[in-house]
Amino acid sequence: MAVNVLIVDDSAVMRAMIQKTMKLSGLQLGEIHQAANGREGLETLERQWIDLVIADINMPVMTGEEMIEHMQANPNLKTIATIVISTEGSQTRIDRLQGKGVRFIHKPFSPEMVRDTVKEVLGSEVFHERSH
């Protein structure tokens, strides 16, 4: 199974870093879509089949937390696996996100942290044999 990924971050450099990490992780990648804020992310989710959302929190127009709240309120989107990659340091906010079923990775991150978290969320079967 190829995994379609949506990366939502207002930094193009960070989106490129995450995309490169995903390609190196051994994940069976399908399409990779990008959005610069939560609003663009929701628009992409309405148009495309996405298996995994990777989102920042602090973004202009619509934050990642607001985007996740909209996803949770939409029956078509609420089951999509979501990982937040952010500088967020507030344990209160992290707990709130995790309470919504979202996994959290702190920036700066290592490629191994991303790979392991994606494995926990989607399972090992979506990775190529060599990465097990």
Binding site: D10, S11, A12, V13, M14, A16, M17, K20, N58, M59, P60, S86, T87, E88, G89, S90, Q91, T92, R93, K107, P108, S110
Partner: protein, 161 residues
């Protein structure tokens, strides 16, 4: 200038540069060499239990290296100014995000605004105003100057001491 907060700031900057871009930094001893003085500057504002701002200035050759390492580019000098400035904005965003819980407490919720390049890309911290903490580092073949401005006092329970 708060020595404890400055020390925390330095630790966060060194750690972030290493983990985000594989750049190694150390405290700057004495004045910066003349050839390192051409700087690119970025600022960010934040609000929450503590409000304030941060300014980061980085030698331009190091900025190209920063962006190249973050993007895994073979030729860092071929990256556009936009890509380099985006890398600089992300750097200060990560530093600010990692610093605030250390001075404001783990449960404090902050809002970090989108970092911006000041008009004219002003170099140095001269126009930033009075600072509460600062970190001056040598990084690879250049320097990194970070200044923190707080609108109020650091909560007593927040700052690591």
């Amino acid at each position: 200038m708060n020595a404890v907060t400055s020390s925390i700031l330095s630790d966060v900057v060194v750690d972030t540069l290493e983990k985000l871009a594989f750049l190694f930094a150390a405290p700057l001893e004495g004045p910066a060499p003349e050839e390192t003085r051409e700087l690119a500057t970025v600022r960010v504002r934040f609000s929450g239990p503590i409000c304030g701002g941060m300014q980061l200035s980085l030698s331009r050759p190091v900025l190209a290296e920063l962006a190249g390492n973050m993007l895994g580019a073979d030729d860092a000098s071929a990256l556009s100014p936009d890509e380099q400035h985006d890398a600089l904005r992300e750097l200060v965003n990560v530093i600010c995000g990692n610093l605030l819980p250390l001075i404001g407490g783990n449960n404090a919720e902050f809002h970090i605004q989108t970092p911006f390049i000041p008009a004219g890309d002003a170099s140095g911290a001269g126009e930033f105003g009075p600072t509460n903490a600062a970190s001056n580092l040598s990084v690879e073949s250049g320097i990194c100057l970070v200044a923190l401005q707080l609108d109020g006092p650091v909560p007593a329970e927040g700052a690591r001491s």
